[in-house]
């Protein structure tokens, strides 16, 4: 594989090609260090900010007088600030870092001129800061997932252009001949996002379309941020870290291909399911429902692929933090997507539409799937770019258990509460059959609110649990950066010591 003397060969002429690969990886990791570190640190910062807004918003929903005197902290603004901070702040920064770290490694391509990527990251974060400040002072566009005011968007655009171009250049100049499945997903995501974002900005803000065409553009955009950006990045990470940590190949290339293309074709039509029953033509609603249901195919195919890769190695979950978070995320992806396909069915949508069930589903996707996968990725990447180990396994364990239990509680809680709310709100005959109301006439609206209050309180408790996890993570994150490298410590930070230390890797 090596054509000219590489660094490793120059140090030790007896190296094998495996060592060459590893030396190559060390160069690649080193080249990604500063941009990845900057992006990940920004991401963790936004995670904390987003968590604060989340807690405030959650408390307001069951105790509306909380901070009720401040216009800039009214629920409609804190909830929006939360969404934008965790999506465009935490999730996108983490996506950028993971995407080009994976792309550099898989393309076997050193990241050149990494300084420009740091500039891009700075621009992105300035854009998001300006955007969220704008929302709090009252410049929100009130378009879901696109609330940042127009004056923040040029910076975001510029930043994205730089990141996108760099990932493609890294891919183009890579030595790898085979395009691994994670690379397909990352390249696709990088291409799809600017198309979605530009059309949304143009047809909703700069030259607004007439009437409910806006709603179609809005939900084509917003759902595809989930389906064509976050899902591919998350799947790319799972497809890399799962086989990497286990040291086994992905079960079937053919399933990977099928999973990728069926996702590409079906996912982008699914967004219309947010408008079922609404003032948009029924044919496009039915198309969105059919596509949402067809999504079962890529989800099942990917789940089989991951599961059969994992089979026989489940005990590795005892040791590896990365693996635990990744597998939790992968299972959540399957569960949330199957729920999503079910929710698109008209008779189910009749009950769940407009309720907290949808909020539970959204968090299952963005948190239980995407965020947990990002956590797992970060636990793997940081030691490799910093050349230091994570200081505290206990903090990692605390992080895992609080976020895993917290997010599961959150999702269960809102789905149950939301379903009850939906029955009372939308289908009184069914609600009567389930014994939720005495007659078959619709109950007064205030009753549908009152029934959700205990569930909203439990949502706050689960959020507090998740916050503890985030703080543990942030402490560990800051600690690994500031601690001095100890030359003697060469063992990975695992949950417990496996019997065969050298073989089991982080």
């Amino acid at each position: 594989m090596a054509s000219a003397p590489s660094l490793a060969a120059s140090l030790n002429p007896a190296t094998t090609s495996d060592d060459v690969q590893r030396a190559e990886l060390s160069e690649i990791d080193a080249s990604t260090k500063w941009p990845a570190l900057f992006l990940l640190a920004s991401a963790v910062g936004w995670l904390l900010i987003g968590t604060v807004f989340a807690l405030i918003s959650s408390v307001k929903m069951h105790s509306p007088d909380f901070l009720g005197n401040y216009e800039w902290l009214t629920f409609g603004r804190t909830r929006t600030a939360h969404l934008n901070a965790v999506v465009y702040g935490w999730s996108v920064n983490a996506s950028f870092a993971v995407a080009f770290w994976l792309m550099a490694r898989l393309s076997r391509s050193v990241l050149r001129h990494a300084g420009l990527l740091i500039v891009a990251a700075v621009f992105w974060n300035i854009g998001v800061t300006v955007g969220i400040a704008g929302i709090l002072i009252g410049d929100s566009t009130s378009i879901e997932w696109l609330e940042m005011p127009a004056y923040a968007t040029p910076l975001l655009f510029l930043a994205y252009a730089l990141v996108g171009a760099w990932a493609v250049i890294t891919f183009r100049f890579g030595k790898s001949k085979h395009i691994y499945v994670s690379q397909w997903y990352i390249l696709a995501a990088l291409f799809w996002f600017p198309w979605l974002y530009s059309i949304a900005e143009i047809m909703l803000i700069f030259a607004p379309a007439r009437g409910t065409v806006q709603a179609l553009v809005n939900w084509w955009f917003a759902h595809n941020v989930l389906g064509l950006w976050f899902t591919p990045i998350g799947l790319a990470a799972i497809y890399y870290f799962l086989p990497k940590v286990l040291g086994k190949p992905i079960h079937s290339y053919y399933l990977s291909v099928l999973g990728f293309w069926s996702l590409a074709i079906f996912y982008n039509w699914a967004g219309v399911h947010h408008l079922i029953g609404g003032p948009v033509p029924v044919w496009v609603q039915s198309a969105g429902i059919a596509a949402s249901f067809m999504m079962v195919i890529p989800v099942i195919v990917t789940a089989i692929n991951h599961h059969l890769t994992m089979v026989g190695s489940f005990n590795a979950l005892k040791y590896s933090p990365t693996l635990r978070f990744i597998v939790f995320g992968a299972v959540s992806y399957t569960v949330t997507s199957l729920f999503g396909s079910a929710m698109a069915i008209r008779s189910v949508a009749e009950i769940t539409h407009f309720t907290h069930f949808v909020v539970g589903h959204a968090h299952e996707g963005m948190y239980s799937f995407f965020t947990m996968v990002m956590f797992g990725s970060i636990y793997y990447i940081m030691p490799r770019i910093l050349l230091k180990e994570w200081p505290s396994a206990k903090l990692i364990s605390l992080h895992f258990w609080t976020t895993a239990i917290g997010s599961t509680l959150y999702v269960f809680d809102l789905k149950i509460g939301g379903f009850i709310q939906g029955l009372l709100l939308n289908t009184p005959v069914l609600a009567h059959k389930f014994g939720l109301q005495p007659g078959t006439d619709p109950v007064p609206f205030i009753d549908t609110v009152k029934v959700t209050i205990p569930y909203l309180q439990w949502r706050t408790y689960s959020g507090i649990l998740m916050t503890v996890g985030h703080i543990a993570f942030a402490i560990n994150f800051a600690w690994i950066i500031v601690r001095s490298a100890q030359a003697t410590k060469t063992q990975p930070t695992l949950f417990r010591t496996p019997p065969e230390m050298e073989v089991t890797a982080q």
């Binding site: 509306p64 395009i179 065409v213 179609l216 609404g278 009749e350 009184p428």
Partner: protein, 221 residues
């Protein structure tokens, strides 16, 4: 690397497929709907939102009302919108063509507001509800919007717009002070009062009718 161009083409056409189908096709087929002129009434529907109400709509947007309130009525028999008295008929695309920003909404933490202007015409009720929702709707989890009102010393004549006489005892300002809605509060209520979709566009007749028993078929949907 020779597969890369093929992968790119596939990725391109995948998104082009839905962009064409969801965005482009609908923009072409109903993106230029015009208001309907009604001969009997001599007006074009939907009516233009009055100026003050348009200002109020900006307030609705910047406060994020959309995150709890929807503005779309679903057809009878699907969900309970019409049965709850939230509207007479299903909302149609024509209802929204004059809106610079369409605020359909996706949550009903609070009731649908599409026809609130037909359902609750009392300005005072709206002021009470915004000042503190607990006044009109005990147990509600809507936040208070007292910052849409201003408490100031009465100078000269008391303002005709003062609302403290309509508020319960615990909200009373000190003697000599009055509570008046700010421009934001007043225009927001103007906007809410303007929300009513009463016109029956031709397409509102495009509804499924259950076959009558004489036809011999009983198709329950």
């Amino acid at each position: 690397m020779n597969r890369a161009p093929l992968i790119f083409l596939g990725i391109f056409f995948a998104l082009a497929f839905s962009w064409t189908g969801i965005v482009l096709t609908n923009q072409i087929s109903y993106g230029s709907l015009k208001p309907v002129y009604d001969e009997t009434e001599g007006k074009s529907y939907p009516l233009q939102t009055p100026g003050l109400a348009a200002r109020g709509k900006q307030v609705y947007e910047d406060l994020g009302c959309i995150y709890c309130h929807s503005q779309q009525i679903r057809r009878p028999g699907y969900g309970d919108d019409i049965e709850r008295g939230w509207g007479d008929r299903q909302s149609v695309a024509h209802d929204y063509i004059r809106e610079n920003r369409v605020l359909l909404g996706t949550m009903r933490t609070g009731p649908d507001l599409r026809n609130i202007g037909a359902r609750q015409t009392d300005r005072t009720w709206h002021y009470q509800h915004l000042y503190d929702p607990q006044i009109t709707s005990p147990g509600s989890n809507m936040p208070p919007f007292a910052f849409l009102f201003e408490t100031h010393k009465i100078v000269g004549q008391p303002s005709p717009k003062a609302i403290q006489s309509k508020l319960p005892a615990k909200y009373q300002p000190p003697a000599g002070y009055e509570i008046v809605p700010t421009e934001r509060g007043e225009t927001l209520v103007d906007y809410l009062l303007s929300l009513k979709d009463t016109y029956a566009y031709p397409e509102t007749k495009n509804v499924y009718v259950e076959p009558t028993p004489e036809a011999g078929k009983e198709e329950k949907k």
